[in-house]
């Protein structure tokens, strides 16, 4: 077993590393764009317009109450079908699905962050003559962002693991590389142990970094 593991690392090391690269790329894209969508959707859910509330609520609930794998399938088949001219790669379709998914979860993170800011903060800003969008951008969001930073990082950790579902479509992430290597070597357990260790090290490190960040933020207050 140990000999097999060492052989695998020696022979397929770069393949595993490449898989990790794709996994992190998927996670980063999902979280970065998901953040923007999340902030927007959170504002839509909290604004006065009933129509925007409804759109935002339906989006969040549909995403949160259906499986990610189903969403991946959905975008994977839907996007090339409705936008054939764009010639979207399967990687792009998967990214879109992941972005929409993390956007919904991020919007909940942001919503709780925005709601955690005392109403008096907005009232003070509005009383000085700031518009509602200036108040949001200058007063509420900067404070909310700080409050939700740890939750955002946790979301990043979660999505890093969830990208493994994208391997269903062979996009080249860690789990895809597992399937490739396992197919070539007829080994099932050993490559699984290796990618398991990689997933663990990466997410464990990220969780610890989040904990440090959280402590730093508290000290700053």
């Amino acid at each position: 077993m140990l000999a097999n593991l060492l052989t695998l690392v020696e022979k397929y090391g770069p393949v595993f590393i490449g898989g990790l690269g794709t996994t992190l790329e998927l996670a980063l894209i999902s979280v970065a764009i998901g953040c923007l969508i999340g902030a927007l959707v959170a504002i839509m859910r909290l604004c006065k317009s009933k129509a925007l509330n409804l759109v935002a609520t339906v989006y969040t609930e549909v995403i949160r109450d259906t499986p990610l794998l189903l969403q991946l399938y959905f975008f994977y088949f839907l996007l090339p079908d409705i936008l054939p001219a764009l010639k979207l790669s399967k990687f792009t379709c998967i990214c879109v699905a992941l972005v929409f998914n993390s956007g919904a979860y991020m919007s909940e993170v942001f919503r709780s962050g925005i709601q955690s800011i005392d109403r008096g903060q907005s009232e003070a800003a509005r009383s000085l003559g700031l518009s509602s969008s200036q108040t949001m951008l200058r007063i509420v969001l900067p404070q909310a962002f700080k409050n939700v930073l740890p939750a955002m990082c946790n979301e990043f950790v979660a999505i890093t693991k969830e990208t493994s579902l994208a391997s269903t479509f062979y996009v080249g992430d860690l789990m895809t590389q597992y399937q490739t290597i396992s197919g070539k070597t007829y080994m099932v357990i050993e490559p699984l142990i290796i990618i398991g260790i990689i997933y663990f090290v990466v997410t464990f490190t990220m969780s610890k970094l989040v904990a440090v960040l959280e402590r730093r933020l508290k000290e700053n207050d």
């Binding site: 005392d118 008096g120 009232e123 003070a124 009383s127 000085l128 700031l130 518009s131 200036q134 404070q143």
Partner: protein, 252 residues
């Protein structure tokens, strides 16, 4: 203090007509008619739940009036089609809980609105802020985060933050109610300084001694209306309305 009589002919700054505010079936304001003249220092007193804070917050529309008119700056600002942000720039407000922006330095708290709203250049705003800070004895705190200030210091900062916009009137919503007793004086003396400089002030307060000393008119509210009003000496020493008498007998 300023004699109430020289202010009778001062120009009107805010005129409130038949102001109503309902929260659901609860009628918090039940028809308020009142005129605030330039240079007046008016305090609003009354039992809790009488609508005094709601009245004050309707003046800059932090609460939307249910009906009625508020004439200020040549417009009926109770009308929802007016650009309320523009009018709010001319009405400073100070809150019970200070509502200082904790993510900005003391100086940035003050310069934010004047620079963002294009009222002053950055340099002008900083100069103005420094002058105001030194007036309230906080100049040495200009670069620190306000979370490290005491309650009294926060409230003084809140006052100069509002003053930096050079408002025509200052609205105070129980400015000393959240303060430790030993800090009440420092805040009241800043407000007193404003009053002496002829800044128009409307102050919701429980500090009867302060109202008597600094204000030239006191409004007593109960049940969503102004029950009685007058010069402080008159209202405090010879209240006519039974509800005013009852209230004053409890608090004085």
């Amino acid at each position: 203090m300023t004699d109430a009589f020289d202010l009778k002919d001062a120009p009107e700054l805010i005129r409130v007509e038949d102001l109503h505010k309902d929260f659901g079936s609860l009628k918090v304001l039940a028809g308020i008619n009142e005129t605030i003249r330039k240079g007046e220092v008016v305090s609003i007193i009354g039992p809790s739940g009488s609508g005094k804070s709601t009245f004050l917050r309707c003046l800059n529309r932090l609460e939307e009036p249910t009906s009625g008119h508020i004439w200020f700056d040549g417009a009926d600002i109770a009308d929802r089609s007016v650009d309320i942000d523009r009018h709010r720039q001319k009405m400073g407000m100070v809150f019970q809980h200070f509502n200082i922006f904790p993510h900005m330095s003391v100086l940035e708290n003050i310069t934010l609105a004047p620079t963002l709203l294009g009222k002053m250049s950055r340099d002008e705003a900083v100069a103005k802020a420094e002058a105001l800070l030194s007036r309230v004895g906080l100049l040495d705190k200009r670069d620190i985060k306000p979370t490290r200030l005491s309650g009294g210091q926060k409230q003084r900062l809140a006052i100069v933050r509002a003053l930096a916009m050079e408002p025509e009137v200052m609205l105070f919503d129980e400015p000393t109610s959240a303060l430790d007793p030993e800090m009440v004086g420092e805040v009241l003396s800043v407000i007193k300084g404003l009053a002496q400089n002829k800044m128009t002030c409307v102050i919701v307060t429980h500090e009867m001694g302060f109202a008597r000393e600094v204000c030239n008119r006191v409004l007593f509210m109960d049940g969503g209306v102004i029950c009685e009003q007058g010069a402080p000496g008159e209202l405090f020493d010879h209240p006519r309305h039974p509800r005013t008498q009852d209230f004053l007998s409890k608090v004085l």
